[in-house]
Symmetry: C2
Subunit: 200 residues, 2 copies
């Protein structure tokens, strides 16, 4: 069986959110699964010297416009959150914990978290809010809330983030297909052809 | 008659080169023309604090790989130039001059300059090389060569670059359709739909 496609994303990333709506179906069309890997753009920014898109002069105004337009282009609900960007440790830890303890819930909860932030304008950087979202997806709320403060979960997430950075993950979404890296929701068409052809 | 589509590009930009292969045909399908506007990414970088893609840690290696892969994806010849990036004042001035004096030659020469750099690995930042390329497209070589040193041409190009920056142009390619800005060759699908639908 082929390796899963690696889908690296930050919960604060609009383009990560857009890719999250399409990546599973795209993979399934080619008989592949997806490994959802939350990361922390802030940690990557420290290494690359980059900054959040909306903090860059000129590019910031454009990006805000492009988030919403790209969502319309892809037919995806989108509402610019009132707080942006957010630190995404809490949802990242939650998904890391679910992958280890209740893997069938990990992707549904990740999608619900993204939707809570980019559609319902809920601040998922707050562990209480993240726990509420997990609970509505059928996860035990108290266990989810405790996991986000668990030193072992924090360490596991930190290790995942560091490992991703060590393999060159600098942005979100960052998708790896059989070793080939693709950065950005606008590379999903290349991912699709890569999966169909085995490389080009 | 509808306004031309504004196509801002830097001669040193691989994604500008890729967009240059498709923009005229895309516009023509919608009965539109294209105004090719050379710009200087270096001037924009000073305002945004950005840096050439290949100079950014992690992102640099990815970008070099993505240039070539994106060219293959789009079926476009591409060879990473041995000198990259280059200052693009000379070819920018040449095209500015042609637009004013021999407009029918401006786009063919711009395409020939891009091809000389990104296919034949010729250093078009050298005014002698740029003049050679123009001459092969039927432009008077001596006049082209002199234009690149002409203070009036230099001023005209500088004004064009400043004006673009003042209107928010921060990258290459940067395409404006009826006031709507699109950044990147990967937005050509959105440009296409925008032209078809009048906005979305």
């Amino acid at each position: 069986m082929a390796d899963p496609i690696l889908f690296h994303f930050d919960f604060s990333s609009p383009y990560g959110y857009l890719a999250a709506q399409r990546i599973d179906a795209l993979a399934a069309r080619h008989g592949r699964t997806v490994d959802w890997r939350p990361m922390l753009l802030g940690v990557a920014f420290r290494q690359t010297g980059m900054a959040p898109l909306t903090a860059v002069p000129l590019k910031g105004d454009y990006s805000t416009r492009d988030f919403a337009r790209s969502a319309r282009f892809h037919g995806v609900d989108f509402h610019m959150p009132s707080r942006f960007p957010i630190p995404s440790q809490a949802p990242g830890r939650l998904v890391t914990w679910l992958k280890a303890t209740e893997p069938a819930a990990a992707i549904p909860v990740a999608k619900a978290l993204y939707r809570a932030y980019f559609v319902d304008d809920r601040d998922i950087s707050d562990a209480e809010v993240a726990a509420d979202v997990a609970a509505r997806s059928g996860v035990d709320r108290a266990a989810a809330r405790a996991a986000m403060d668990d030193p072992q979960v924090k360490d596991a997430f930190r290790r995942d983030v560091d490992e991703a950075l060590a393999r060159g993950v600098f942005g979100s979404p960052y998708i790896v297909v059989d070793g080939e890296p693709f950065w950005g929701v606008d590379r999903l068409d290349q991912v699709d052809r890569w999966l169909a052809s085995g490389g080009f």
